[in-house]
């Protein structure tokens, strides 16, 4: 576990004091996504261009004529953060080569919600990862289309009730499992892909820093707790992110040049009920439903553990 002695003394010194995503944005109380973005920007530092997909974060941060962004920021549309980012990256590279802008590394960082990444933006993301742009794509996954009012997406977990697959007499919420986006992107052969959560700030920021150092495409899938959409009290945001990891529902790991590593390793997984029963979106689940989810979580966790145990970095393969 990532526990440091005298943490309270220590942590502030590890984190950039500059605010790049400033207070005054209009995110809901207890928004995990806004918190995660604030942390990410601190880890990235000032030589960064942010490319934002349409979604909660773009909407809450950029009411003209105000902006919460103290970094260069561009938003074009919903499905295309990765392709706008590709253009920004290419543009900066050529202008630097031609001596038209300062000769230093500026990182292009694309950010999108779960829907904007798993669903409508997946083609653009896959294209950008395949082409090898020097960019970080960070997905802030609150597990539904939250900006438009909690609709189901490919990122929504099994059993969750949303406004387009609500639980009811004939339905127990989403009937399909969440897409494994990190595996999909890792399969593109990127040098660095990781999962993260704002409830583990140092782990998350370290991953952002690692990704920033890579020359090429990298991906971070950050679970972002959404009290509004998950039907939990706003003060439960951090706790719920912790439970996602402690139950093994959202394991925190990284894939570096083919090598899998758990970065936060719970000694013993807590039962998924601890997580599910605390959230309104799962309120309707029966003990059988919860049992089914428990089995799947164990299975997925074991699959991941097997990769951690058995897969080697590409350079070590003979």
């Amino acid at each position: 576990m990532n526990i440091v002695e005298n943490f309270d003394l220590y942590a502030p010194r590890l984190v950039d004091k500059e605010e790049y995503f400033s207070a005054g944005h209009r995110a809901c109380q207890g928004c995990g996504e806004a918190l995660a973005i604030r942390m990410m920007c601190k880890a990235l530092g000032s030589d960064t261009v942010i490319v934002n997909a349409t979604g909660c974060m773009e909407v809450v941060s950029s009411f003209y004529p105000t902006t919460a962004w103290n970094l260069p920021w561009i938003h074009v549309a919903f499905p295309n953060a990765a392709s706008v980012g590709a253009g920004v990256e290419a543009g900066l590279k050529v202008l630097r080569r031609k001596g038209k802008i300062a000769d230093r590394d500026v990182k292009t960082v694309c950010i999108g919600g779960g829907g904007g990444t798993f669903d409508i933006g997946l083609q653009a993301l896959s294209g950008a990862m395949e082409r090898g742009h020097d960019m970080l794509y960070a997905c802030f996954d609150n597990e539904a289309y939250m900006n438009t009012g909690i609709q189901r997406s490919g990122a929504t977990p099994f059993g969750a009730s949303t406004t387009t697959n609500p639980a009811g007499r004939a339905s127990s919420g989403k009937g399909e499992w969440k897409k494994n986006i990190t595996e999909i992107i890792a399969a593109h052969g990127v040098q660095y892909a990781a999962t993260a959560c704002h409830s583990y700030p140092l782990d998350f920021m370290n991953k952002v820093k690692k990704a920033r150092e890579v020359k090429g495409p990298t991906f971070i899938h950050c679970l972002a707790v959404c009290p509004t959409g998950w039907r939990i009290p706003s003060e439960a945001c951090i706790k719920m992110g912790r439970l996602a990891s402690e139950t093994g529902i959202f394991p925190l790991y990284e894939v570096e040049n083919g090598k899998y590593r758990m970065t936060i390793k719970p000694e013993k997984l807590r039962p998924v009920g601890d997580y599910l029963k605390a959230q309104g979106r799962f309120r309707h689940l029966t003990p059988e439903d919860i049992e089914r989810i428990q089995e799947k979580v164990y299975q997925e966790y074991n699959k991941l553990q097997d990769k951690v145990n058995n897969l080697h970095a590409w350079s070590e393969l003979k």
Partner: protein
């Protein structure tokens, strides 16, 4: 010194774009425009152009990448046709709202369905009200000249708008013509390096593409409209400068034997030249006919049009797309509304021709002129007609 070379027009378009030294090209293949990006990638591969060629996975990403590149302060170019343009459609009005001077060449092709790769103007007409400057070229020389002019127009401080340059699929893209190419020095003198008004870079922090509430949206749309209208002045100035430098004249509406003509054919793109041949034939038969070439589609040249038709008795608007269930063709409805408030106005009729690559020979234009001559005496009942429909 400019050089005269025979070349396929799509390749010439790519050569002209390369002379403009774009920093980023992002494009996706679609017939009939494909030779433009293909040839640009050749030019990059040969080391003749220092640019990043992004082989995007879709047209949506092509235009998105151009937005990103242009937003970062780079000169950006793309090209497409038909379905590709519609695939971009979500992004098209955002480029103009963000005032990004992206240049796009469209090799015009019919929209599906049924699927058809040949020429008409249904693609660009579907993207009419989006805030872009939109122009038509009628031959290879015009493609070269207007491609170069497009960057200068788009990047002008009083404009800062994207430009689409339309060239007819196959009729232009795949035809070999002799053309004059300006040399690099001449183009560099005409087109200075791009200096963005704002760009996303940490040395000058900006937020681009923010959200506008109803309290400000009207005003933003008003600006978009005004800027596009005002761009005509700059376009005309840049065309004058071009004429002084290269000797070839460009105007929003150009005329052929139109002075004092009773019948005027108004056409866009490559069909203009066929119409001119038909007019020559009819002139031999003492029919008083002429041609108007509409070069500038957005901003629409209202005053120039009114001046050009003021002495005519009949104006035949030749459209190459249909506004289904509407007033006929889109050029027709524009021309008619431009003239509606005039005290003295000609009879205006609409012939929709050449859909999906249907050949329109000189003889068809002759038939159309003959029909127009009858319209002088008796206004036809039907306002528009899809010309030459078999079995009707």
């Amino acid at each position: 010194m400019s050089k005269r070379v025979g070349m396929e027009i799509a390749l010439a378009a790519a050569e002209a774009v390369a002379l403009c030294r774009p920093d980023v090209v992002a494009a996706y293949p679609i017939t009939p425009n494909t030779h433009v990006p293909e040839h640009l990638s050749d030019i990059v591969a040969e080391g003749r152009l220092d640019a990043d060629f992004i082989c995007v996975e879709s047209e949506h990403s092509a235009l998105s990448a151009c937005c990103g590149a242009s937003g970062a302060g780079a000169r950006a170019f793309t090209a497409t046709s038909s379905q590709g343009l519609l695939y971009m459609a979500e992004i098209v009005p955002i480029v103009s709202a963000m005032r990004l001077p992206v240049v796009m060449i469209i090799g015009n092709r019919a929209l599906s369905g049924p699927i058809n790769i040949w020429n008409d103007l249904s693609d660009i007409m579907s993207q009419r009200d989006v805030g872009w400057i939109s122009m038509f070229a009628a031959n290879g020389q015009e493609v070269i000249d207007m491609a170069i002019q497009s960057f200068k127009i788009a990047e002008h401080r009083d404009v800062m708008l994207p430009v689409n340059l339309n060239m007819d699929g196959f009729q232009l893209t795949h035809v070999v013509e002799p053309m004059d190419f300006p040399d690099q020095k001449e183009v560099d003198e005409f087109l200075p390096p791009y200096k963005p008004y704002a760009a996303v870079h940490p040395d000058n922090i900006v937020s681009m593409g923010t959200l506008a509430l109803p309290e400000i949206f009207n005003e933003v749309m008003k600006v978009k409209d005004e800027v596009l209208k005002n761009s005509k002045k700059v376009i005309v100035e840049i065309w004058k400068e071009w004429e002084q430098k290269f000797g070839r004249s460009y105007k929003p509406i150009e005329t052929y034997k139109a002075k004092g003509a009773e019948i005027l054919l108004l056409a866009v793109g490559s069909m203009v030249e066929t119409a001119e041949v038909a007019v020559d034939e009819m002139r031999k038969k003492k029919v008083s006919a002429g041609v108007l070439k509409l070069r500038l589609w957005r901003p629409f040249p209202f005053e120039e049009l009114r001046r050009a038709v003021k002495d005519a008795k009949v104006v035949v608007v030749l459209d190459r797309s249909v506004s289904f269930g509407g007033p006929g063709g889109p050029v027709f409805s524009e021309v008619r509304s431009a003239l509606y408030n005039e005290a003295k106005r000609p009879v205006i009729i609409n012939e929709i021709i050449g859909l999906g690559g249907r050949d329109v020979p000189v003889s068809d234009f002759v038939t159309i002129i003959e029909k127009a001559a009858k319209a002088i005496k008796e206004t036809p009942k039907e306002e528009y007609e899809i010309f030459g429909v078999r079995g009707s």
